[in-house]
Symmetry: D3
């Protein structure tokens, strides 16, 4: 089974960290292809960053289809381009926010999301709604961390996150934590030990859920909203993205 | 006041129709700039079409800011890129689905959306939820019309739509219709006459609502989720989209 | 275009302030008729005040229809009698809570309502639900101000309100403020300057939205729930209110 | 215990029927005072009828308080003026829609409301939402019956209603019926026998629920939203309604 | 009328307290049978305790049916086994959480639940959702009290509860309290006096609501989800529970 | 990894079918223990059957813990006893309704549940709500099949189910099917082929999701609502179920 894990930003160190996390949980027989698009923002911290990142992400899905990938992970907590990606993929496509929240819902009675910058809170809130998690999500806690702070050696990011997780357990009546950034992919085990509660991280969760879906023989439904795009012309710089070679 | 009305697809005849509709309702003193991006799909009928169209749309917002536009209309019923556009615009940005539903909520007790292809139903459903319109939206009715069917001379599109509107009033207990495609921008008055109920069309509604917001001195909030994007590098083909010249 | 702005309480100074605010944003060609019913409470601060105020309000709508008004604004933040008024009006009728929340939803990601007495909190909460704004309304903040405190020269009302608005931005993660009383109609511009965020005020918002709807040729739907009342007899002191002269 | 049952319309025959139904279920020791205001519509079939009826209704609550009533029933399925009435009453005040839906929720898994004219559907829908009954209400079925059709001897109203109830059980997966008009107060037992399912009627349900609340020593809370209205002046024809003699 | 009040735990002192509270509000002519199953936990403080308690509870309903009981109260705030009990009972069956919340909704604008251990918060939250009370429930406040703390003479339980109730009125904007444990059945009147707001207690509320439903001639619907269980074999230790003697 | 798959009814043929389905998808290295309690109903078709089945189910979890099981599947579409089971298990516990709906949400835009008897519709509806799936569940379709009809050789059950699935795709705008009974565990692949859309079956889905969670090192949270039951005495026939040996 080949699973492509796509970091929609273009920061290589993060892609490597994500790839390592993915491989760390992958089953024997699963090949992880961790990539980052050739084009896009160095980090994704808002709707605009997300919107521009989607083109590179879709390019990666398209090449993944050509390469015979069985499933995909979109490794950014805003799950950018998720439904568009599903339209052009045969196999399952999971966002890491989606995966983390679904996994948390199965082992906890209520979780808090601990994320990066305050300005991304709205994105998390919309995903909570979209995935039907409003009854389980106790709070969304923004730290003052930028995404790339998580990449800097010696930053105090981990300590900040642990403290926020502790506050979540105590003040929000949460009994699990969902980590709200792909850049935290290497932190979950350590934080779980420190706080004594389950910590769900999206990259790893998404890999295992894609494995599960592929193992069930389930692929993205192709008879309605998520059917392959209708063949038509695209104009200008995005001409090459036109579906069906039109 | 200068309002830029952006048709996110690249079909010129539709842009012209949209521009005419916009001008038809604009106040004295309002200048309508109706455009279509240089790049993008010829029609938007799904998540993938939408996602790829956003880049061209954002380009239009960026040039609009440089040109001193006071507000924007995204003239596609899926409201693609709405929140991303708001991040980079000072003035108000409205989607036509958003505008039509809000306007309908003020003059009717319940509306039905009459839209194009079945596969776009899910997009409309998500917008109904996102805009808090679930209590007012009685039904979403897909016709079998493709977007470009609305551009073909002599097509039976108008008749099909009128029939669906009549069914909506009778079977859904709706007392108003929301037209679910920018390509229907020229049809609302005629259909309203034929069915004897208010028909709300998004392009025209959005123009008047942007005028209203600008007239109130209201601009997009810049202190939180919709603040200007953080300056950072973008890589590759989208390099030019990087915020803040980084 | 003639828009009648009805202050449902009987305090003249407030009616004048409301009228001035309405005229301050009205388009050229819009005539604002600001009135207050002959009968009713001097201020509206609860369900009972509201319920009794509705009779005078409906009287104003009835005379407005006779006078050829094109639309109406109900200038009390509880939007009393809104649906009843819509039944007897041809043109659009907007409540100021409705107008302010809809306008805020178009330029902000989340707003807090700053209102007067604690006992009115429930009224605001019900409107937030009714208008589908639960996902956007971050908080409702009651000050200890009575409605008529806003009319007293030299009162500290403005300072109290500004402080509450500042707390809303900081503590509620709101990025805009909705002012929760028609008596604040003269304060929005000043407060917006002080707090550096959009402040949406309902009287002005409603005037511009009625202008927009009238400009679109939209009138209240007359085929269902909001159709003209059925002709029938009314008995006793309210006999004159009987629909259709029955 | 003295319970005042107020028919907010002015049709005496309906008041008598309502009074008889109320007395038919009242406990020993409960006195039923069935009245109708001196002023108001002969039937209530929309928001406007409702709004005008409230003044007479509140007058009846006020005299009820002076007469030492222990609780009140508002005997119109739109529950007009409910919260206003609660503000001026010490004891419990129940609407018949409220009472019927709450009672139905305790003995059935899902109910359908069978009501009168199509135009009242929206009122029922809003009450379903307001009372938290959306998960239980399977459907609202309007017959073509006007309220006063239920008063005419020899009308086919009962047959029409029974047929609609049968359809509700079969098509809506409802397992109980809520009758949607006070004018049906005499029909519930007979219909229940005919259709073989529980039929909940609001006048009788409200009388028993008021008895229950009074028996528990529960009165309307007076510390917040439902506290007695603030003393203040009312002007003009409604001067006499001013709270606190102001 | 014979009402069986079942304490699903096996602590006799609590059953006696519950029985006394029930008799204290029962109407003349109502016989209260207060019992506790022969098998089950000594207190119920979680899902597991609840699940195991249900067998004994159902046994009590079965014998109640044989004894001609007209209705039942499940006297544990988690309402364990409510729908199962309804399937095998002809008359109404009420849970005390259900009864208390419904009663509170009729005399207050918003209530806070004051309950025992933190770990039971989730059970209360699910009932709030299930009964459609999310709009009315301002907060759920867990004290650190175990259920059996309420049975110990000289415990400070009452003082702890009163303090939490006071905080609820002040901090939650609640105007009534719902007591969240059957072990508080003797406390409501006293607490209401101390805090000056309505305090709704479930055992007493449920007794009066069952009386009301029986007085209306309403029984549990037997045509759908709550119909008598299908006759079939049960195996092993629960063989005797098989429906229909199979 | 050892996963215990518990069929909460006592029909051996169904347990065998469930075990075979589970083994059919299990990963190499996963041991499936398929069991059925010694006590309980032969089929589960309502709340009462469910409630009585829980005791046997919990017994199986308890022995599973002693045997070192890593996770559990509750193989009945009502997910009976799920939260109670989670309290006493260290590893993950999944219900098959939960698993199927979550899996479906990842590969489809909207699913219909096809289940057995009409009387179980309400159970499915409550699970849809509880799992946050209301936006995705297009319909619940009951066939007239009893659970044990699925066990009879030569029954027309499969044909009936396929027909209902076809109607779901066409009439409900669903793009995937969720099978609503553990007795359908052997049918999903065949039905998927026949209808040309994904068919999600809960037993297999749950096995793969438990594998995924265990692979992530996630266990049921033990710090709040799902913590191990408090040690206490249980009385009578259920004495042996007492937590903590009390």
């Amino acid at each position: 089974m080949k699973i492509k894990v796509i970091n929609p930003n273009t920061t290589e160190s993060m892609t490597e960290k994500i790839g390592a996390a993915a491989r760390g949980v992958a089953a024997q027989g699963t090949t992880i292809v961790a990539t980052s698009p050739a084009m896009g923002p160095v980090s994704i911290e808002g709707h605009y960053d997300e919107a521009v990142s989607v083109l590179g992400l879709l390019e990666e899905i398209r090449t993944g289809e050509a390469d015979g990938c069985d499933g995909y992970v979109i490794a950014c907590f805003g799950d950018p381009g998720l439904l568009a990606a599903r339209e052009i993929a045969r196999g399952p496509v999971l966002g890491i926010a989606e995966a983390a929240m679904h996994a948390a819902s199965m082992i906890a009675a209520g979780f808090t999301i601990v994320t990066t910058l305050e300005r991304t809170r709205g994105i998390a809130r919309q995903l909570v709604e979209a995935y039907g998690m409003a009854r389980l999500c106790r709070n969304i806690r923004a730290t003052d961390l930028a995404v790339l702070d998580l990449e800097r050696e010696g930053s105090a990011a981990r300590i900040t996150i642990v403290e926020e997780c502790r506050r979540a357990l105590k003040e929000d009546h949460a009994d699990a934590i969902v980590l709200g950034c792909a850049g935290m992919a290497d932190l979950s085990a350590e934080i779980a030990r420190e706080i004594g509660a389950p910590v769900v991280e999206g990259v790893t969760a998404a890999v295992k859920l894609v494995e599960a879906l592929v193992g069930l023989g389930l692929q993205t439904s192709k008879i309605g909203e998520l059917a392959f795009p209708l063949p038509k012309a695209y104009r200008g710089a995005v001409r090459g993205f036109a579906p069906g070679g039109a």
